[in-house]
Amino acid sequence: MNLAEYRRAARAWLQENAPSDDHPEADGLTRVKEFMAKLYDAGYSGITWPEQWGGQGLTQAEERVFAEEARHYTLPTNVFMIGLGMTGPTIVDRGTDAQRARFIRPLLRGEEIWCQLFSEPGAGSDVASLQTRAVRDGDQWIVNGQKVWTSVAHHADWGLLLARTDVDVPKHKGLTMFVIDMHHPGVTVRPLKDMSGRANFNEIFFDNVPIPDEHRVGEVNDGWSVAVTTLLHERLSISAGVGMGGQKDNPASLEALREVVDTSDPLVRDELVELHIRSRALALFNQRLAQETKAGIFPGARGSAAKLLLAELAMYQADLGTRLVGPEAALADHPLARAISLAPGMALGGGTNEIMRNIVGDRVLGLPPEPRVDKTVPFKDLKVGTQA
């Protein structure tokens, strides 16, 4: 099948099968799991993944074609995104054959939901300073500790867990990666409300949770290199997403604001011009990155520049919108009140603005690194988290 045929087939399938309502998740997981199974059975889940483990074994070209066609729909695949974008690729890259055989097909078919368990209250930007312990006990490991910022954990069947297995070596060298059973009674999932009041994240507590050694991913104490694989996939899926989402639902977009503000005031018009300039500048940059990717030039760390700009734009837009609208925007049910409450999220998810600037400075511009005190000290002697 050539690409044009592939596109026609994908288009036809989507026309027939994509859900017509916007939020099918509202019914719970049954319908979205059914859809995912249909998607997989039609050959559109895991398009580039190895055939041997349940993928389609096709190329990025087919994947891009399907993504382009799917952009016209809102497919109910959110709950599977951690698995598809991060933990699944990690198992494919770094897991054992037994793990691939066990986990990949159910993941692609939506039968099992995954979450990622890296961040901790004391280890945000600096993930490698995490404190959750996994202690060897014969053929298994016993896990105690706490994770945070975990999306979809309340639905998850499996979690990809990064835990500390040696405190006598520097922080990056004492970590190991595991697959943990989220249904074990020692796992407690507690919803975590963000500043807008939504519960979009979870805190997870582990109380003597056993993991069989065969669910270890990679070597003992080599977990950081596995995590780097996962984070690389995360960055890829974020930068693939950046600039894709339209501004149509954003109450702080130029299109939305021009309808509600007084454009007879030249100062208001000029503020909207500034918004246009900034939005266009970033949108064109994202389009250029996308065209480069198509042409085989991988954006790499330059995607962090796009992410930084997106975070700044989101904050600027919501701030501007509330200023232009005035007192009304401070009522809780005003769309701009919600926008200003959500705006910081873009900067704080997936790396703070400071981390993004470090990445651009170090990897794009090749600037010398900050001197590091944390790469040589044994973990048990290292300052971590919050302390005087």
Partner: protein, 340 residues
């Protein structure tokens, strides 16, 4: 021009700060208005009567003192009708009938004020006030109304007949507003509405609260930057954080200077008040939000959680920035005053 606090003003600050730190710590602020705290604010500290002239039972202090107090109530994100009552007291000093001031000075009355102009038929007022500050907590509303005698200031008992109040959920979780509908609500006429002066005073008072909010937000993130570690170092040792905090400090220094100037102008140099008041809102309102925003962002992920206090400052700062209208009106006023 006096830009530094006197000994007495510093003592007032210490007293208010001390009281609020125990009576209304931040952990309580998110639970909303506690009338008991407010009663003790009246009783022990006599704060609502601060700017009420002595002949009406107040302390006869000036805006300079009120600013010191509002800075502290702002820093504590004190819930309830304190700002609204202070606004009203400031307005009442500008109208002939000052009787209400006694009630405020005695702490009997929580009051609010709204700028929307109603209609007045001689005995009662009617109209809709879409967003009245602390409208649920206040006892009395002061509001201008058009009647046979032109535009007059009137006072309405909010618990009285003809008044319907609907609480509004607001962005600012620590201070609410209400939709107030007045349908022939009995109203006392306080005298003709003054042509100017009231709104400028509210602008200065609000700027003082904003100064407190930004100072507390900066203090919070500075303290966190000294204990939070990333990559083996306190985050405050990174120039990425340190330089941003230094810039925030620069904004705070300038904001404080402007608030002191505007308070001085209110008390001592009425000719400078309009410019000072517009400057105060134009600079301090923006600076307060920027500092609150950056204080939240620099906290990292924890600052994005509901449990953390950062968003309370951020939301109060944004709500305050637009409380007296879209900020551009303050800039437009400056352009007019500078005869540009």
């Amino acid at each position: 021009m006096k830009l530094v606090l006197s000994q007495e003003q510093q003592e007032l600050r210490a007293a208010v700060r001390g009281y609020l730190s125990t009576a209304s710590p931040l952990s309580k602020a998110r639970q909303g208005y506690d009338p008991q705290v407010y009663t003790r604010l009246n009783g022990e500290l006599g704060l609502p009567g601060l700017v009420v002239p002595e002949e009406y039972g107040g302390s006869g202090a000036g805006m300079a003192e009120l600013a010191v107090v509002l800075e502290e109530t702002g820093a504590a994100l004190l819930p309830g009708p304190f700002l609204a009552t202070a606004f009203t007291a400031l307005a009442l000093t500008q109208v002939p009938d000052k009787e209400l001031l006694s009630g405020i000075a005695e702490g009997r009355i929580a009051a609010t004020i709204d700028g929307a102009e109603l209609t007045h038929d001689g005995a009662a007022v009617s109209g809709v006030l879409p967003r009245t500050l602390s409208g649920m907590e206040a006892d009395v509303l002061v509001v201008p109304a058009h009647g046979a005698d032109g535009l007059v200031m009137t006072a309405v008992e909010l618990a009285g007949p003809g008044v319907t109040r609907t609480p509004l959920e607001t962005l600012d979780l620590t201070r609410g507003q209400a939709l107030v509908t007045l349908d022939a609500a009995p109203a006392r006429v306080l005298g003709p509405a003054p042509e100017s002066g009231i709104l400028d005073r509210l602008r200065v008072a609000l700027a003082a609260e904003q100064l407190g909010v930004m100072r507390a937000a900066l203090d919070a993130i500075v303290a966190y930057a000294k204990v939070r570690v990333a990559f083996g170092r306190y985050i405050g040792s990174y120039q990425g954080v340190k330089h941003k905090l230094a810039d925030m400090h620069c904004k705070l220094e300038q904001a404080e200077s402007i608030v002191r100037y505007a308070a001085w102008a209110t008390d001592e140099s009425p000719a400078d008040l309009p410019e000072a008041a517009a400057l105060a809102q134009a600079y301090v309102g923006r600076a307060c939000f920027e500092v609150a925003r950056d204080h939240l962002l620099l906290h990292g992920g924890i600052g994005y959680t509901w449990e953390h206090d950062a968003h309370l400052f951020y939301k109060r700062a944004k709500a305050n920035e637009v409380l007296l209208g879209p900020p551009r009106i303050h800039r437009a006023r400056l352009a007019q005053l500078l005869e540009l």
